[in-house]
């Protein structure tokens, strides 16, 4: 699997993402600077986490209009896999590649902790390597992860099976106690209509080895590799 990782001023998960991809795929991904107007050949384009442009105006707003983003949008339209993690998810909603918006956490605080997530469906290229029916554990680290979409959009996402992950308790209940940031429907990640663009607030790239405290991030990348092989 060939991957490209786009780096913006203020990205801070780019290095973890590059290392995780190289470890898992056995192939060094290509870092791409935000001023580029073209992307190298890649099966997967990753928009990594961070606080691009200091979250000025709105989280992800400036990065979403960076020169490289026209190429990212073109790739998405051409059917490439695009993964936006945390700030990358915010960029995907800001460009309109994914619906809704990520707002200030309901509790107004920056949250950095591990959360449990339900994998809403395990028949997608991104989620196929996850076991069905068992919550996974991944870290979140964000100030603006409160997913908002209007009722009609939420209904459409649900109806089209486009919810990827929800915040749940350890035993899998998607209730208010398990919702760290006020996201509607406990939504932690969503897909595009072709299931090839995934935006998620949790960080799979941070938990890919037991030595790092867990490896629930690993199947996301492994599943994609399987889907591409």
């Amino acid at each position: 699997m060939k991957a490209a990782v786009v780096i913006f001023p203020g990205s801070n998960c780019d290095r973890d993402t590059l290392v995780a991809l190289e470890r898992i795929t056995g192939r060094a991904p290509v870092p791409v600077w935000h001023t580029e107007t073209d992307l190298p050949p890649a099966d997967l384009v990753v928009l990594p986490g961070g606080f691009t442009y200091g979250d000025y105006l709105r989280a992800g707003a400036m990065a979403a209009r960076a020169p490289v983003m026209a190429a990212v949008q073109q790739r998405a339209h051409d059917g490439a896999f695009v993964l936006g993690i945390c700030n990358g998810f915010q960029m995907l909603t800001e460009t309109g590649l994914l619906p809704g918006a990520l707002m200030r956490n309901a509790g107004l605080k920056f949250i950095c902790k591990d959360v449990y997530l339900s994998v809403a469906r395990t028949d997608t290229p991104f989620a196929r390597a996850y076991p069905a029916g068992r919550p996974i554990r991944l870290p979140i680290a964000h100030h603006d992860g409160n997913y908002f979409a209007d009722d009609a959009t939420l209904e459409r996402l649900e109806g089209e099976g486009r919810i990827a992950f929800r915040y749940v308790s350890k035993d899998g209940a998607a209730d208010a106690d398990a919702n760290p940031n006020g996201s509607r429907g406990n939504i932690a990640g969503i897909y595009s209509d072709n299931l090839r663009v995934l935006g998620m607030m949790p960080h799979p790239e941070r938990l890919i080895e037991p030595a790092l405290g867990g490896s629930d991030g690993r199947p996301l990348f492994e599943g994609l590799m399987e889907a591409l092989s």
Binding site: L57, A61, M103, N105, L108, N146, F148, A149, D150
Partner: protein, 82 residues
């Protein structure tokens, strides 16, 4: 020409910052506040002197960057006197 863009959250969009301000104002003893909503003001100094053109230009800026119309409304106020 100067332009001022007011950006506010749409009705129905939760505004936790507005809620926190509301609570603190109540703690300070201000009564009778039904709701507080927090927004943004962006001031622009434009070379354009024609109000209609300035309005169109700033509206386009709002649509493309200044506001996120999924969650925000915007209004543009022009001040031709300056």
């Amino acid at each position: 020409m100067k332009a001022r863009v007011h950006i506010t959250l749409k009705t129905g969009v939760l505004d936790p910052q507005g809620k926190a301000i509301e609570k603190t104002l109540a703690n300070l003893g201000f009564g009778g506040i039904n709701t507080v909503r927090q927004g943004k003001i962006i001031e622009l100094d434009l070379a354009e002197t024609d109000p209609a053109k300035a309005q169109a230009q700033v509206t386009s800026m709002c649509e493309q960057l200044l506001a996120n119309t999924v969650i925000e409304n915007y209004s543009v106020e022009l001040d031709a006197a300056q």
